[in-house]
C-alpha cells in the first residue's frame, strides 16, 4: 500500500485556469459571430491572423526560453481574439499580426507570462497599433459597404448620434467585436452564470459612465452602448491578472475606468477612451490594492495596545528610583522585589563604572517584558 501524504484540503474544485479561459473565449463567440455577419470575411481573416500570431508567438518564446509550453490554456488564443475584436475589419493583414506579436511578447511574456503581466496584453497590442499607425486604425467599415466614422467619432466630429437599435444589434461602424451590445451582453451573462467574473467592475464601470454622461448633459444610453465600453467593461477590465483582488479595490477600479473613459471621450483628441482608461487603471492596481487591504474577520487593533503599554511601564519605572521601596499606590514593595531591583542596579554600576542614566536601567527590563 502506497499512501500519499499531503496537506489539507484533500478535495479540490473542478474549475481550473484552462477551463476559466476557455469559458471567456466561448463567451466571446456571439460577438465574433455578429462581427463576421456584419463585416464579412475581412473580419474573419483579421480574427484568424490575430489568434494564430498570438499562439505562435507564445509558442516560439516559450521554446526559446525553455519554459513550459502553455498554449493549451487558451490564454494566447484569448489575447489574440480580444485584440482582433477591437480592431477595424479594414486593417491590412499585417496589423493584427504585428499587434498580436507585440501583445504577447511585450504585453505578457516579458513580465513572466500569464499571471505576471501588469497591463491587459490585448490592449497593450492595440495601444501599440493605435500610436504607430493611427490612420490605418481609424478607418471604419459601415454596414452598407462604404467607409465612414464610428458613432462616437461622428458625435465628436459632427455631433450626430446613431440610433439605439443600430447600437444594440451592431449595425454600425466600429471594431469587429464591439458593435453589438446584445452579443456582448449574452456572453457576459454566460460568464456571470459560470461565476467567472464578478459584478463589481462591470457594474461600477458602466454605472460611472452612465452617471457622468448625465452630469455632462450627454445621452447616457448612447455612451453606454457606443464604442468599446461593453466589451471593455465585461471582458477586458475584468481580466483577473490586471484588476485588483480586493472587492473594494474592484469598485474603485471600475469607477476609475468609467471616469477616465468619459473624460477621454469628451475632452481628449480621441473619440474613444476605453482602451487608455483600462490601461491607466491597470497601472494603478498595486496602489489600489495597497489602500484597500482587507482587515481580517474580528479585527482588533494590536498596535495601539502595544504602544500604550510600554509607555505606562516606562512611567512606572522612572518613578521607582525616587520612591525606592514604596510603589505608586503607596504600598511598601515586597522585599524580594526591591532586592531584585537593587541587585540589577548594582550590577549595572559594577559593569559600567559610570554614573548610569535612567534609560540604561530601563533597557534590560524592556527586553524582559518583551
Amino acid at each position: 500500500m502506497k499512501l500519499t501524504v499531503s496537506i489539507n484540503p484533500h478535495i479540490k474544485d473542478k474549475d481550473n485556469v484552462n477551463k476559466i479561459i476557455w469559458y471567456v473565449i466561448l463567451a466571446l463567440l456571439p460577438a465574433v459571430g455578429v462581427g463576421v455577419y456584419f463585416f464579412g470575411m475581412d473580419a474573419l481573416l483579421v480574427i484568424l491572423l490575430s489568434v494564430s500570431s498570438a499562439v505562435v508567438t507564445e509558442l516560439i518564446i516559450q521554446r526559446f526560453t525553455g519554459e513550459q509550453i502553455t498554449i493549451k490554456d487558451g490564454s494566447a488564443v484569448l489575447t489574440g481574439l480580444l485584440l482582433a475584436l477591437v480592431l477595424s475589419p479594414l486593417v491590412p493583414w499585417w496589423i493584427p499580426v504585428l499587434g498580436a506579436i507585440f501583445a504577447i511578447a511585450i504585453g505578457k511574456m516579458v513580465f513572466g507570462g500569464l499571471g505576471h503581466n501588469i497591463f491587459n496584453p490585448a490592449l497593450v497590442g492595440r495601444a501599440f497599433l493605435v500610436v504607430s499607425w493611427p490612420a490605418l486604425m481609424t478607418k471604419w467599415l459601415l454596414v452598407d459597404g462604404t467607409t465612414g466614422a464610428t458613432p462616437l467619432g461622428m458625435l465628436k466630429l459632427e455631433g450626430v448620434k446613431a440610433g439605439y437599435n443600430a447600437l444594440f444589434f451592431g449595425s454600425i461602424g466600429g471594431c469587429i467585436g464591439e458593435t453589438s451590445a446584445i452579443a456582448l451582453l449574452l456572453g457576459a451573462g454566460f460568464l456571470f452564470y459560470k461565476k467567472v467574473i464578478d459584478w463589481r467592475i462591470p457594474a461600477t464601470y458602466v454605472g460611472t459612465v452612465f452617471v457622468f454622461a448625465l452630469i455632462f448633459r450627454q445621452d447616457p444610453i448612447f455612451h453606454v452602448l457606443a464604442g468599446g465600453l461593453l466589451i471593455g467593461a465585461f471582458f477586458m477590465a475584468t481580466d483577473y491578472v490586471t484588476s485588483p483582488i480586493t472587492q473594494n479595490g474592484r469598485l474603485i477600479f471600475g469607477f476609475g475606468c468609467g471616469f477616465l473613459t468619459i473624460i477621454l471621450r469628451l475632452f481628449s483628441g480621441y473619440p474613444e477612451g476605453v482602451m487608455f482608461s483600462i490601461l491607466l487603471m491597470n497601472a494603478a492596481v498595486p496602489l489600489i490594492e495597497r489602500y484597500t487591504k482587507i482587515k481580517p474577520f474580528g479585527y482588533r487593533k494590536p498596535e495601539k495596545e502595544k504602544k500604550e503599554k510600554p509607555a505606562e511601564e516606562k512611567k512606572e519605572e522612572k518613578k521607582e528610583p525616587e520612591i525606592d521601596l514604596i510603589d505608586k499606590k503607596g504600598h511598601i514593595v515586597p522585599n524580594s522585589l526591591s532586592k531584585a531591583q537593587t541587585k540589577e542596579k548594582l550590577e549595572v554600576y559594577e559593569e559600567k563604572e559610570e554614573p548610569i542614566r535612567e534609560e540604561e536601567i530601563i533597557k534590560p527590563k524592556e527586553e524582559e517584558n518583551e
Partner: protein, 450 residues
Amino acid sequence: MKSFIGGIHPRYDKITRKDMIKVAPLPKRVILPLQQHTGAICEPLVNSEDIVKVGQKIAESKEFVSACIHASISGKVLGIAKAKHPVLGECKAIVIESEVNRIKDSKYPSGIKIEWDESVKRRENVDKLTKDELKGIIKEAGVVGLGGAAFPTHVKLSPPPEKKIDTVILNGAECEPYLTCDHRIMLEQTERIIKGMQIIIKILEAENYYIGIEDNKENAIALFEEKLLGMGLQDKIKVIRLETIYPQGEEKNLIYSIIKREVPNNGGLPRDTGVVVQNVQTAKAIYDAVYEGKPLIERVVTITGAVKEPKNLLVKIGTLVKDLIEYCGGYEGSIGKIISGGPMTGIAQYSDDIPIIKGSSGVLVQKEEVIKEEERDCIRCARCVDKCPMNLMPTIIFQYAQKDEFDKCEEYFASDCYECGCCSYVCPSKIPLVHWIKYAKEELMKRKKK
C-alpha cells in the same frame, strides 16, 4: 438563512448519512496516546504488566489545561512506548491488550473480557450536584471537544471570572464533507444531547442557548424541535437553521452566523465575546460522564470513502484504523490516501496503523489520487480572497511566504488563518495555499518564542 462571510460549497458526499450508528467490535489491542487533546501531555499512572479495567484512569496531568485518559478496554498494559499518532506523527502511548481466550464465559461471546472499573457507576440525583462538582466530574472523565480540536471541556466550562458568558451554542453544523457522525448522534441520542446541554446550562448560567444545525440535516432540526417541545425547553433552547456552507461549523463562523458577534483576531477566543461553543457529541459525552459515570472511552467515528461498506461506528478510543477498515469490508480498489478527519481539514496519514483518538471524527479513504492537477502560477482571480471566511488575502500571504518575507506575512495577518482549506479548494491554479500559509504561521510562531 443564517450564515457568515466567505465560504464554499464543496461536494458533500455524505454517503453514510442514513446508516445507523453500529457498535464496532471490541478491539483486541488499543493504543492510547498520552496526548489526545490541546494542552499539557499526560503522565502515565500505570506500569507495564499492570491489569487495568474499562474506565480506569491510566494517565493524567497536573496542569489545568489537559485531560486525563482512561482505559477503553480491560486487560494488561503491554507497555508504554512511542507509537504512531494521527495528528502529532508520534507520541508516547499506553498499549493495552485485552485478555482473549483466557476465559471461557458465555457472558462474553467474542471471547474478550469486559471488566468495568468500580468508579463507573450510574449517578442518581444529578440535580443535586453543584456547579463545581459537575465540573469536577467532567474533568475526571477526560471529556474534550469532540469536534476535532479536542480542547479540554472543563477548561471551556471554567471561563475566567472577568469573562461573562451569556451565550452557549451547541454545534451540530457538521459542515465537513463526508462526515456524518454528528448527524447520526443528533438523530439517535437527541435527548441525551439535550440533557448534556442542560448540564452546560447549569454550569455556565448564561442567558441564551442555541443549537445550530445546517439545513442539509432537516430531520435533525425537526427532531430537536420536537424533543425540546416535549421536554418543555422550547423557549429556553432555540434550534437555529444554518445555511449549508463550509466552514459553517467552525466556532468563529458559527458564532457570527447565529448571533453576529466577531471573535477578536490575533488569538481571540469565543469566550472573549461571551460565548461558549460545544460540539453535540461533547454534550453527549458530558451526559455519559455525569449521568452514567462513564469517562470518555468511546466516540462515534465515520468510516467512509473507498471502503467496501462505509459506516458510522461507535468506537473505543485507541482502536486501530486498520481494524475498523477491516470491519467495514476492507479497502475498495487501490488506495491513495487515508485521512484522519474530513477531506477539508483532515490529516493525511502515512499508515493505517494509527489509533482513533478523542478528536478523530472520521476516517476518509481516497482512491489513488482522485484529482492530481498541475500547479501553475497565480492568475490573481481573487477567489481565495473572496471565499476566505477569515477575510484574509491568501494569495498575497503565499507569495510572501514563498520568498520567506515573514514580516509581510504578518502584515497580511497570516497568523489568523485557521486552515479551513477554502483557498486551496477554490484555487484554479491548484496552488497549495494552506501549505504556504501554514509554513508562514510556523515561522512566525518560532519568532514569537524567541
